[in-house]
Symmetry: C2
Subunit: 324 residues, 2 copies
Amino acid sequence: METVIVGLDIGGTYVKIGVFDREAELIDRWQLKTVEDGKVLVEYIWNSIQSNLPSEFNCEGIGIGIPGFIDYKNKTIIEAVNMRLYNFNIEEEFKKYTDIPVFIENDANVAALGEFWKESGDIADMTLITLGTGVGSGIISDSEIFRGKKGMTGEIGHCIIDVDGYKCNCGRHGCLDTIASATGIVRAALEQPIGDSLELLDDQEKTRRNLVAEDVFFLAKNGNKHCRSVITHAVDSLGLALANYAAIMNPEKILIGGGIADAGQEFIDAIAQAFHDKALSEVSKNTIISKARLGNDAGITGAAYLVCKNNQITAKDINKAQHL
Amino acid sequence: METVIVGLDIGGTYVKIGVFDREAELIDRWQLKTVEDGKVLVEYIWNSIQSNLPSEFNCEGIGIGIPGFIDYKNKTIIEAVNMRLYNFNIEEEFKKYTDIPVFIENDANVAALGEFWKESGDIADMTLITLGTGVGSGIISDSEIFRGKKGMTGEIGHCIIDVDGYKCNCGRHGCLDTIASATGIVRAALEQPIGDSLELLDDQEKTRRNLVAEDVFFLAKNGNKHCRSVITHAVDSLGLALANYAAIMNPEKILIGGGIADAGQEFIDAIAQAFHDKALSEVSKNTIISKARLGNDAGITGAAYLVCKNNQITAKDINKAQHL
């Protein structure tokens, strides 16, 4: 019977599921639509794993990454606002169906763990900034997830950049999240008329209502001054937040990931430039900024690695998965 | 022959020297004027230790805290701007005189280590913010000094609060240091006329030229509106910087230390209030802000504890020094 590991990346819209062998080779992957009720979600995921995993497979563990405040020791989601989950013990829920061990971490930590494993060399202090619907970060310090006692480290998206800025979902004003997330970029773009530029977009059905961050990047590249200033403000704010972050954390490498990181190398270079312009000289000299490698696979890869780490399979054992 | 430990707190103005026994009881203390030349400074310190330490004492180690970028492994001061020391290997310099082991750390880390040792209970993640000539911080994470690979963590004084702010010694603009350090507070106070209020000060010889931060606090308390707004700005900026800091580091406790922390409980309370107003709710709930306990002794105590840690004397062994 072959032993496999399941990595789950639970997001606000989709649950991505990856099945890995013990050498971390990706065997299978699929995704489900996220449902809001936690109990229903776990049942739904478990049914999907059961029906997709051939019966001859023995599952060694389920690793989970999910956005929110996580108590990894008690395997409890303290608060996952987007999914409306509060004080939800996911291990207990899985135990209704299976005895397979479950491990859970904040999604940003899990993604950082995935990227960290793909980093070569002697990098021990690394940060992954995820620019998606929100801005998150996962911190690897001395080769381990840096959690803090309450598991709430790396909330760079909720560093305040502009005290007089736009109101954030967290209730405060001017968080980085309101400026540099996909949501923040679209909101800022829609603050001024951009109607005349919409015809530039491929999708002729595009309206202001369904504008996405990629469109704002596209319009900026194609001469829309307002969209360009929105992107410049996001880049400058990211540079400032990362400079302040690096003054505190002193990482060797900061990786930019998440959907927005696909806006092009030019965007990553601009963030790096803004960072180096604003960072303390000694910090700037010692910090590399680059694009994350794993893209959408960071979550499932890191979630699988979470199981490996907990089951004490070393990175060396699973260092074969170069194809991911 | 009694074994002792020497703790050095090297500052821009004074070198504080504490002699502790193996149970960390303070046996003797004194201070020297700091001299700028590194070689002269070490000779001067060594001569002073020799002439003050009775010959029947056997010194087990010299722990050193010094402001600047420190390579603790190679016992090298990479950059200590105030003392004009660059790439200075302090161990090599001491070796010219003695074989006593030398340990060195950034002064903020050393002070945090001293305060950490005095904390009771299960605190494992603690930060000491030092408000003095500059603003520094020392981070204890999981009961150890949090250094980052290059030993340059916790530079909260160089987090940029106002991109259009006053030029900092580091060459950038609007660092917390320019707003909330003693230097920054005095500079801001002198930006507007405060002449009429000077008569309030005890020292009748006081002039604008030798105004110190304590005077600004005194004038603020006694109704000078400009000085009050300078302090309010420092408090708000500290609150914001600490809120952003805690969003990343998630400490259980933030201690406010340094000369300015003596401005009164009202000042500490105002910083705590500004922090809780601006911090992410989940972070605010889990972070205590209070005044540091050791005052001027944090440096020598932490420096001595540095020797103990390196020589693997446990905190329990030296837990008797309640008199400090």
